[in-house]
């Protein structure tokens, strides 16, 4: 066998739904392989087959010439396969140091359960300490060494998770969307580390941010509907006709009319003199002693699409959580339709017409799509779905599918449909396009524009081209403060607010 890792016709089904339909892929030693594809293409499931998270119904997985199809994850780790997850998986109750030390310690002992663990103090072993300190330094986490992980920002957690895989010195490093949900600066930091490993380690990376991949990957594979439709050098794959059709939805010679994506300000008049729909005044919020957002004031008028832009850790999510009632401001006031809402419970605020969709796209995994919508209907007393489903025709088809088995884009549509039931005044969405494929993001941006006639949208978004397309007003946030506000279309389209970020 000349390939370090290979699959042969692997098939994975979830009930009647086939997530991976006969994928054969060979990975060479010390190459960096990128896998892209629309959401729901089966990329995460395929990585799961490589790690042992899913056992395929058909086909085989080989590590050199060893059949590992039936091995469990912890057994595969011993052969050197290491996965970093799309949604961060770290030990929230341990310190940063301990997270890394545990991973390194497991590697050093190379046993599934080292019995000497009772005698080992992770802080006192010189070699553990040296390796951990080096990883902390390389990943620029040194300042956070003693912090409990639950207090870290998402970007820091992602870095920590990749550092945990890296410190175990795996033969194959599997990365599932390592760049989702973190800012450009942090992505670049991770890229520096990955580039150092290039040529020395076998890396499989699933990612949507293709622009970040072109320098990194040796080969690029594209998945679509559970199959690999192209695999080869980066440029060649990107330009492949089928890839362009499936992934980018670009068809040769068809200059699609994209004007619907652009601003429709003429048809909708925003009355900026009236009482704002949401008005936040001098709000300071924090967790315990730590203050995250300082003296923040902002306004959202009815009918607008307002975007809150800023780097990770700027306090955007905290702001949203505060408006939605999950956090109590330490000072300041929040008004919705002219009524004070600070201190009210989240469910009261939601029923009052202010809906909030969290970043993590969490759904009730065991319920069907229909049951989700019913839940929302019971709560609001609004049982008419026809108009809402006209925005999301795909949900009609998926009505009886279990929510756990939806792709990221489908989950986002479901959550938006749920929020729309009950005719809310405003919907707050935290990074709705995070981790979604370009074609899906395009679909969503069309939906956003259509929704303007139904409700007001207040969105946290890091995808600046999308912001330029849809936003009427952009707030730039930095280190817990609003640093700029832009309402002029031309400035938004030229991304002039970007310099504040």
């Amino acid at each position: 066998m000349e390939y370090i890792l290979s699959t042969k016709n692997v098939v994975k089904r979830f009930g009647a739904f086939t997530a991976v339909t006969g994928v054969s892929l060979e990975i060479k030693e010390n190459e960096v392989l990128g896998i892209i594809g629309p959401n729901g293409a089966g990329k995460t499931t395929f990585l799961g087959i490589l790690t042992g998270n899913h056992i395929p119904e058909e086909g085989s997985v080989m590590f050199w010439d060893q059949d590992i199809t039936k091995q469990k994850p912890e057994q595969r780790v011993h052969t050197g396969l290491m996965l970093s997850f799309q949604l961060v998986h770290v030990f929230d109750n341990l310190t940063v140091y301990e997270n890394l030390a545990l991973s390194y310690y497991r590697k050093r002992e190379n046993k599934q359960f080292p019995l000497n663990s009772f005698g080992i103090n992770l802080y006192k072993q010189p070699d553990i300490k040296a390796h951990v300190e080096e990883a902390l330094h390389d990943f620029d986490l040194s300042d956070l060494e003693e912090m409990v992980v639950s207090n870290l920002s998402l970007g820091a957690k992602k870095k920590l998770e990749i550092a945990m895989s890296w410190i175990a010195n795996p033969t194959v490093l599997l990365l599932d969307e390592p760049f989702a949900g973190i800012g450009d600066q942090e992505i670049d930091e991770i890229l520096v580390v990955l580039n150092k490993l290039k040529g020395k380690k076998t890396i499989v990376i699933v990612e949507h941010k293709i622009s970040k991949l072109d320098q990194l990957v040796d080969r690029l594979a594209v998945m679509h509907e559970g199959a690999i439709i192209a695999c080869g050098a980066f440029q060649q794959t990107i330009e492949d006709e089928e890839v362009r059709r499936c992934y980018w939805r670009i068809v040769e010679g068809d200059e699609e009319d994209r004007s619907h994506l652009h601003h429709q300000g003429d048809t909708l008049v925003v009355d900026r003199e009236a009482t704002p729909l949401v008005e936040v005044n001098d709000v300071t919020v924090g967790y315990g002693d730590l203050e995250v957002v300082f003296d923040l004031s902002l306004k959202v008028h009815a009918g607008e699409i307002v975007v809150l832009a800023g780097r990770n850790g700027a306090g955007k999510t905290t702001t949203f959580r505060t408006i939605a009632g999950f956090l109590d401001p330490k000072k300041g006031s929040i008004a919705f339709k002219g009524n004070q809402i600070q201190g009210k419970k989240p469910y009261d605020i939601a029923l009052g017409g202010l809906k909030y969709i969290q970043q993590d796209k969490k759904v009730f995994s065991s319920l069907s799509v229909r049951e989700h919508l019913q839940l929302s209907s019971y709560a609001t007393g609004d049982h008419d779905w026809t108009e809402i489903l006209s925005f999301f025709p795909k949900l009609n088809v998926l009505m009886d599918r279990q929510a756990e088995k939806l792709s990221g884009g489908e989950k986002q549509m479901l959550l938006m449909a749920m929020a729309l039931i009950g005719k809310p005044g405003i919907i707050l969405m935290d990074e709705p396009t995070e981790g979604l494929a370009p074609s899906i993001i395009e679909d969503l941006s069309v939906i956003f524009s259509k929704l303007r006639s139904k409700t007001t949208l207040f969105i946290v978004e890091q995808n600046l081209p999308l912001v330029a397309k849809i936003a009427d007003r952009v707030y730039s946030m930095k280190e817990g403060k609003i640093v700029a506000e832009t309402t002029k279309r031309e400035e938004i389209e030229r991304l002039e607010f970007e310099r504040y970020l």
Binding site: E74, T95, E98, G119, L122, S142, E146
Partner: protein, 351 residues
């Protein structure tokens, strides 16, 4: 590779992770020292203090399951009574050596976890809780009815005359047994402190919060939980044998289901998943019981209300409350140190 300027600033005590605070070896010495001093200050409370020492070991065992691994068991009295009976049956029918009786209870603990561990550990959350509860019910039936020929059923076993005096510390005499209990408690506190600081402690904590990730970095979590289960069972059995030797009497009521709550409540009062939570839980639970039962016959009611107060008012239980006080002291000290440093800096600059 790294110079001092880029080194992480060391955090003050109150900013550190809860399990990284108060790790000084002075604590077990102070705690056991205070228990010994109170025995001489209040001689009438000696039996209570012995019970606190034994109960603390029992609660610490339960804390491994409940606090570190997140597994709540309503069957701990079974392991307690199994340990007590293995010591008692040996002393009543076979031998006379108290230390061998204790050793037997440890063997019983290991055997029980070898037998029941693999199947129980596969169960999650409430199923684990309830299968232990049913085991507990079967245990009572076993000691009361099935083994009545050797256990005397509900009448219990009496064997003080079979217990031979032991050299150095005579475990038949209560004052010597008190000293022995304190020594054992001290050793357990030291071992527990080592567990808390060790890689194993981190593995337990990590498994509780994110078992999948633990598998993905390559640990076999089944074995991890099995080991935790074994530690809890062995500690419960050992505590049981101490009860049996202290009272020179056992009957099946020691293992009754209704008593399963006691150890869970004591763990909650003390502070779930904390290093000294077991000791403080035992002290709090038995202390409240001792004081309240002087005034009210149904002391459980008052203990229940106090438990609720502790749970709502003190995050991290009694030990959490005590350590928040030590944190405050450390916070003041770091502040003062910073002031001293600042003033010496200005002095230096003045020169």
């Amino acid at each position: 590779m790294k110079n001092d300027a880029t080194r992480a600033p060391s955090l003050a005590m109150h900013e550190m992770a809860p399990h990284r605070r108060n790790t000084s070896i002075l604590y077990p010495i102070i705690f056991v020292g205070l228990l010994i001093i109170s025995r001489y200050l209040f001689p009438s409370k000696m039996t209570l203090l012995i019970e606190v020492g034994i109960f603390a070991i029992y609660v610490m065992g339960n804390n491994v399951l409940m606090g570190y691994l997140g597994l709540v068991s309503f069957g701990q009295p079974f392991y307690l009574s199994a340990g007590a009976y293995s010591a008692a049956l040996y002393l009543a029918h076979i031998g006379h050596n108290i230390y061998i009786a204790m050793g037997l209870s440890l063997v019983t603990g290991v055997l029980l976890s070898l037998i029941f561990g693999p199947s129980f550990i596969r169960l999650r959350s409430s199923y684990f809780t309830l299968i232990n509860a049913s085991l507990c019910a079967m245990g009572v039936f076993l000691f009361e009815k099935i083994l009545i020929g050797i256990t005397n059923g509900n009448d219990g076993l009496w064997y003080r005359k079979n217990m031979h005096p032991t050299p150095i510390l005579n475990l038949r005499s209560t004052p010597d047994f008190f000293i022995f209990t304190m020594i054992v408690l001290f050793i357990f506190l030291l071992l527990y402190r080592q567990l808390d600081r060790s890689a194993l402690g981190a593995i337990f904590r990590g498994t509780r919060i994110n078992e999948r990730k633990m598998e993905f970095i390559g640990f076999n979590t089944f074995k991890v939980r099995w080991l935790g289960f074994t530690l809890a069972s062995v500690m419960s059995c050992f505590a049981g044998s101490l009860y049996a030797i202290n009272l020179a009497f056992v009957n099946p009521s020691l293992g009754e289901n209704s008593r399963a709550i006691e150890v869970v409540v004591a763990t909650l009062i003390g502070g779930v998943g904390t290093l000294y939570g077991g000791l403080f839980g035992a002290l709090g639970f038995l202390g409240i019981k001792d004081i309240v039962s002087n005034f009210v016959s149904r002391w459980e009611l008052i203990v229940g209300i106090i438990t609720l107060l502790v749970l709502f008012r003190m995050s991290g239980g009694l030990w959490g409350f005590v350590s928040s006080i030590t944190d405050k002291i450390s916070r003041k000290r770091t502040k003062r140190l910073a002031q001293i440093e600042a003033s010496t800096d200005t002095l230096k600059r003045g020169k």
